[in-house]
Symmetry: C2
Subunit: 196 residues, 2 copies
């Protein structure tokens, strides 16, 4: 085994152990388990980080900088109106954003040919946002990002979203959360078919 | 010149001509001209498609599929409340989304080392969404996507956003549009410094 190969083996082993530990401890997004478990069993691929999608309320400071961002509330499931209303009412910071975010997944692999295979596979299932983020000898990481999302500011200074609008946003976010899960199912199916 | 090099030269020539033609005809996003003009002059890079950011109203059908999407209105500048109100009032389709979208830029290059240089450069200026989308011998394309964005459904069936909320969204979208322009300025400066 050469240096490049042994680096890959070490990285794969590390990420596979992290996945198995998170799964055992119930810290793993359950919608992602079938996909990650399949990839863990392959010879040339691993998953590093992933989120099966979420609905959240994010509070930011005046500069609205990412590093200052904080989840005021987050759910990895559909939400109820009263949960969102409680989150809005209890928020005392500068600005509150309502977010419904798509799946995000990092798949690592050994060589660029495998990474390209993932890119083609994503196109097949209709995921447009996929790209190679890391390209090193023996370590290529593809980032996969779903498209269904909502990003809307809902509370700032004197402005606060009204009840009718909140109700509508919750309904749409839940719809999109479910669409997102279907994209994940399609992706899982395609990966199981093509990546052995 | 080998086959790989001649493929790159042809691709670069094609995209450079497309850029110069669009610029001449005034079809080019003017905020992107300094960056694209600089890249056109380099030996090993070209730009393919780009948008310096926009604010738009997007109408979708019941399935909300991308392929059915249509710009009801779009602006490559900050907007006025009355423009958005006119767009909302005149919309008769299934669902209308308000969108403020970040910069998107594709930079092509000859080899993977150059593509990686672009990824590192994006990290330096705080652009998290950048990835290699195409990886072929002699043709590597990096997609760069800004982060400032708003994506919110505002009209569907009996629901329509109220005036106070529209006013607030317009204010935030204009703020983010300007932040987005600053990211583009930073990116342009860094590219001029590092990519010759």
């Amino acid at each position: 085994m050469n240096e490049k190969e042994s680096r890959f083996e070490m990285t794969k082993k590390h990420h596979t152990q992290t996945f198995l530990k998170a799964k055992k401890e119930g810290k793993m997004d359950k919608d992602f388990i079938p996909l990650c478990a399949h990839i863990a069993k392959t010879k040339e691929y691993f998953t590093s980080s992933c989120c099966a999608g979420r609905i959240s309320l994010v509070g930011l400071n005046k500069e609205e900088e990412k590093k200052e961002s904080a989840f005021h509330r987050k759910w990895h499931r559909t939400v109820k109106l009263k949960e969102i209303e409680e989150g809005i009412n209890s928020y005392k910071g500068h600005i509150l954003w309502f977010k419904q975010e798509p799946i995000i997944l990092h798949i690592g692999t050994k060589n660029i040919e495998n990474a390209k295979k993932i890119l083609v596979l994503c196109e097949k299932v209709g995921i447009k946002r996929a790209g190679i983020k890391v390209a090193k000898e023996g370590k290529y990481i593809v980032e996969i990002l779903g498209t269904h999302n909502i990003t809307a500011p809902i509370k700032e200074g004197k402005f606060v979203i009204d009840k009718k609008h909140t109700e509508y946003l919750v309904k749409k976010a839940n719809q999109k959360f479910i669409k997102n899960q279907k994209t994940l199912e399609k992706l899982t199916k395609q990966i199981k078919k093509e990546i052995k």
